[in-house]
Amino acid sequence: MRRPGASSLLLHAALVATSLISLTPLGWMAAAAFMQPGEANALPPHLLPHDPTLQNFVALFTRLDMARAFLNSAVITVLATVLSVFVNAMAGYAFAKLPFPGRDRLFRRLASALVVPAQVGMLPLFLLLRELGLVNTYAGVLVPYLASIFGIFLVRQYALGVSDDLLDAARVDGAGEFRIFAVIVLPVIRPILATLAAFTFLSAWNDFMWPLIILSDGHMATLPVALASLVGEHVQDTELMMAGSMLTILPALVVFLIFQRFFVRGITAGSVKG
């Protein structure tokens, strides 16, 4: 048998090697984003910029309208996050704590629709929004993000733990249901709302196929859509594309690092639903 010291060394070597694999593509992106034009194609490859420059980022914002794409992404993501937290929190709470005939059956029906891939309804949804005049609008891209079965599910599971005595006491005191929800329930279920917000933020920010379909006008494009069309014209400009990739990835990474705790909870909660 190996001594503990040797196993520990081996274990940590494996941990570090895996970390390098996870981080190298992102690290190379960050380095190349600050390289001079052509430097990312040097042989042997440069791992760090020899003469760092901001010109790639300047080009993105001045020549290439990425500021507008960034703004589009930010507005859509923030609206999606705020609105979906409200919509799903109310529904999840009702499914947990406001009894009515057939409620649990309705919830089970809804939960079983979780397996339906979003792509199945995308074409008709596009045609519907086209009829409503919502193609190339923020509202059009937002509507499918607002209510989410997974979000309702997350909130319901958490809200089941809210004490009925607390709610009944407030009802005896004459508080209305909306007041109870706003004043008593929301503060109690805040952790799961943070989870939901983190999930919605990241999925809206990173989403590609839906904005690609509904935001065909270049001025309305989100960052991923703008980036995918930029790579068509500027595939030779490695450094520029890496700056654009970094601009897109960085906000997602920062939000993840801040909300990590809540994010992990959502993933493990989702996995035990079985």
Binding site: H12, M122, A147, N206, A228, S245, T248, I249, A252
Partner: protein, 287 residues
């Protein structure tokens, strides 16, 4: 109760109009010859029964897309699950220091934007300047024309998918590992079981429900692969990376053959339902 209605109304209405209605409409559109002429005036669309499905069955591009997707799922699914389990065991090992740091690092690719990492990997895969071929060259292998060779393009996309996704299932495996009772390991150690025997007879059976969940959700997710081939190869070379969803996108939004595209979406739905049913059955068997 009246209040419940008000609480549920926004979510249910949104889901009804913007999710359930489109899904049902998709089933119906798949039975019509809805195309670019019908978009202006829907009256031009005719009911054609199962003709779209019959045509899909004789469409080589569709079959190729389905085969490509199955290859992606069959190679990427097990590989992702295996790497996730390996990473989970590394992170969860008793001797591991700085556990939260490693967990965060492995999870970071999961939250990155798929389009961006697809672009990054496109450069990493560059046959001449790419970092990957450079590393291969250091050990005397390669170079490989990753995205230009029809035999390598799909494996290259699998590699990117595994890199990006393994952290997600890793978290679920860590939760599963922590649910395996520690006494079992202690008892086995007293009985003189080696580490492989403990892995084989305690860890793996203990993780069976986790495997089921992770395996099926990963495969369902992988059937929907779209952005990677869209950004990295546009389905090429020689159609070797065109996925079912990319085929659907091209039929629907490039050629406006909405009928064919809707029928393709229904095929995707049926495959997904079959996967979910499999999970349900296997889970029932266990209990």
């Amino acid at each position: 109760m009246r209040a419940a209605l008000w609480f549920l109304a926004p979510a249910l209405l949104l889901l009804l109009v913007f999710f359930f209605l489109p899904v049902v409409a998709g089933l119906l559109l798949g039975l019509t010859d809805f195309d670019i002429y019908a978009i202006g005036s829907p009256g031009n669309a005719r009911f054609v029964g199962l003709e779209n499905y019959a045509r899909l069955l004789t469409n080589d591009v569709f079959w190729r897309s389905l085969a490509n997707t199955l290859f992606f799922v069959a190679l990427g699914g097990p590989l992702s699950v295996a790497v996730s389990l390996g990473a989970a065991m590394l992170v969860d090992a008793k001797l591991t220091r700085l556990r939260p740091l490693f967990r965060t690092i492995y999870f970071a690719p999961v939250v990155t934007t798929l389009v961006s990492v697809a672009i990054i990997w496109r450069y990493l895969y560059h046959p001449r300047y790419g970092l990957l071929n450079h590393v291969l060259g250091l050990v005397g292998a390669g170079p490989i024309d990753w995205l230009g060779d029809p035999h390598w393009a799909m494996p290259a996309i699998v590699l990117l998918a595994v890199w990006k996704n393994f952290g997600y299932n890793m978290l679920i495996f860590v939760a599963g590992l922590q649910a395996v009772p520690a006494e079992l390991y202690e008892a086995a150690a007293i009985d003189g079981a080696g580490s492989w025997q403990r892995f084989r007879h305690i860890t793996l059976p203990g993780l069976a429900p986790t495997f089921l969940f992770v395996g099926v959700t990963t495969m369902i997710g992988y059937f929907q692969v779209f952005a990677e081939p869209y950004v990295m190869t546009q389905g090429g070379p020689l159609g070797s990376t065109r996925s079912v969803v990319l085929f659907m996108y091209e039929e629907g939004f490039r050629w406006w053959r909405i009928g064919t595209a809707s029928a393709t979406a229904v095929v995707l739905l049926l495959i997904t339902l079959a996967g979910a049913l499999l999970q349900f059955r296997l889970q029932k068997e266990r209990t």
